[in-house]
């Protein structure tokens, strides 16, 4: 279970404080995969980082009693001057996973070929995403935080991701940010709507989509 209690978060910008969350409460039960929805710039990625523990809230408490992944995206987490393999080795170490097995799994899953031994800075964003996705699949998380990476890669890689998640659906959930409603619906049953600093949970993702559409019009 993941719970946010009276969480506030804001950023200082040139024209005042941009509020992401204002005294927001949220309880995410186990066994539900959840889509995070909200307009561009509402702070979906920030919320994902707060859930992960990558970013601290200004006020409030976040409690987690599941093994949660880092926010999987094509952006951070990798050291550009080290190879994909060296980065995988690092991630396996900090999660206490078996280094050899993790490397074998990622080499097979991410399909990077000779690029696996090249510095990550030479990767395309699709390749980075495949690497991030591959490592996270090699480590057994109970909850995967996914920030816009399932949309990358070709159709065959996408179906591979889907199959990998399908296979562990019984023991792992997904919390996902994506701009594609179709992707969200294919992974998630439930949704959280982030609007004006507050969070509302919808058990059924269709209700969230409807409410979101109404808010926009």
């Amino acid at each position: 279970m993941i719970a946010l209690a009276a969480v506030s978060k804001g950023y200082r910008t040139h024209n005042g404080v941009k509020v992401i969350l204002r005294d927001a409460d949220l309880v995410l039960p186990r066994g539900r995969s959840v889509a995070l929805m909200g307009i561009n710039g509402a702070g979906k990625s920030t919320l994902l980082r707060i859930i992960a523990g990558t970013e601290r809230p200004d006020r409030g408490r976040v409690s987690r009693n599941a093994r949660i992944s880092w926010p999987l995206g094509s952006a951070g987490g990798f050291h550009g001057s080290l190879s994909g393999l060296e980065n995988v080795r690092f991630i396996a170490r900090i999660y206490g996973a078996d280094v050899r097995r993790t490397i074998d799994f990622v080499a097979d899953f991410a399909e990077l070929g000779t690029y696996f031994d090249m510095p990550v800075r030479t990767y395309s964003s699709g390749m980075r995403a495949r690497l991030a996705f591959g490592v996270s699949m090699a480590i057994d998380f109970e909850c995967y935080l996914v920030d816009e990476i399932t949309g990358v890669g070709d159709a065959s890689f996408q179906s591979k991701c889907r199959a990998a998640f399908q296979e562990r659906r019984s023991r792992a959930d997904v919390i996902m940010v994506s701009h594609s409603p179709r992707t969200l619906k294919s992974y998630c049953q439930s949704a959280v709507l982030l609007q004006n600093g507050s969070l509302s949970f919808f058990d059924n993702i269709d209700d969230a989509t409807a409410s979101y559409a109404k808010g926009l019009s």
Binding site: A52, G53, T54, W70, G76, L82, E86, F90, G96
Partner: protein, 258 residues
């Protein structure tokens, strides 16, 4: 479930340490050799200058050893400051992982600098002993204490520099500018007793000068520095690390990841 916090921290520091070893030495040809070549270059230049001026070592009977006991502590201090100050910037991407903290990144670099310093100093002393002059170290435990102080002083100064530069980016430049004259005021190539009283009073504020004199008093049989104030040196090191950690603590809530 999630393992205890100290286990996670140990894992993270070890993992960062291993990758830092690669990035610190792996990028250039000669890798590890460079750690020895740098102090040797300084020593060689001073030996050339001393010889040209017709001067010999003020203490002991090996000029090389006298210079090594000045150059190595200086480099240990400045490298620790630089590496620790840039620990967070150089590894910002890793903060994406929730269990990786800024302190882990700095601690890994501190450990790596301490290990490198010990190996470099031991090897250079061994080289002198094998190929130049036989010597015995008068108080080996004091030598260890001096290096511990150098690391703590460097770490504290580095943490503080890193934190202050993240708020005022010009601070790093300022510190770099102070460092150059500091080289000449730390006793790298002289002892305080040979200085005029005014200069001696001036460098007595410099904890590095005390640490280098302390090292030489401990190292060379028969040399007791009248200048060294051990308590002042230790106090400076502790104050630096406390100030650095306090500054880090005060800034951190605002930017774990930014």
């Amino acid at each position: 479930m999630t393992p205890p916090a100290h286990v996670v921290m140990a894992r993270v520091v070890l993992a960062v340490l291993l990758r830092e070893t690669r990035t610190r030495f792996g990028r250039y040809q000669f890798g590890y050799l460079w750690a020895f070549l740098e102090p040797l270059t300084h020593v060689a230049v001073f030996i050339a200058v001393f010889t040209a001026l017709g001067r010999t070592t003020p203490i002991g009977n090996s000029l090389a050893l006298f210079l090594i006991t000045g150059v190595v502590p200086w480099l240990v201090f400045t490298h620790t400051v630089n590496r620790v100050a840039k620990a967070v910037d150089g590894n910002r991407a890793l903060l994406m992982f929730p269990q990786v903290t800024r302190i882990d990144l700095m601690l890994a670099r501190i450990i790596l600098e301490a290990a490198t310093a010990s190996v470099v100093f031991a090897v250079l002393c061994l080289l002198v002993r094998l190929f130049e002059t036989r010597f015995t170290i008068e108080r080996p435990l004091d030598v260890v204490a001096v290096f511990a102080c150098l690391i703590v002083l460097g770490a504290g100064t580095g943490i503080a520099t890193g934190v202050i530069s993240s708020v005022f980016p010009t601070f790093e430049r300022l510190f770099a500018a102070i460092r150059r004259p500091l080289y000449f005021a730390s006793g790298v190539f002289f002892i305080a007793d040979t200085l005029p009283p005014e200069a001696r009073a001036l460098i007595s504020y410099n904890p590095l000068a005390h640490l280098i004199e302390w090292l030489r008093s401990a190292f060379f049989v028969g040399f007791e520095s009248t200048f060294v104030d051990r308590r002042y040196a230790v106090a400076c090191a502790l104050i630096a690390v406390l100030f650095g950690l306090a500054a880090e603590r005060a800034i951190r809530p605002a930017e774990k990841f930014a």
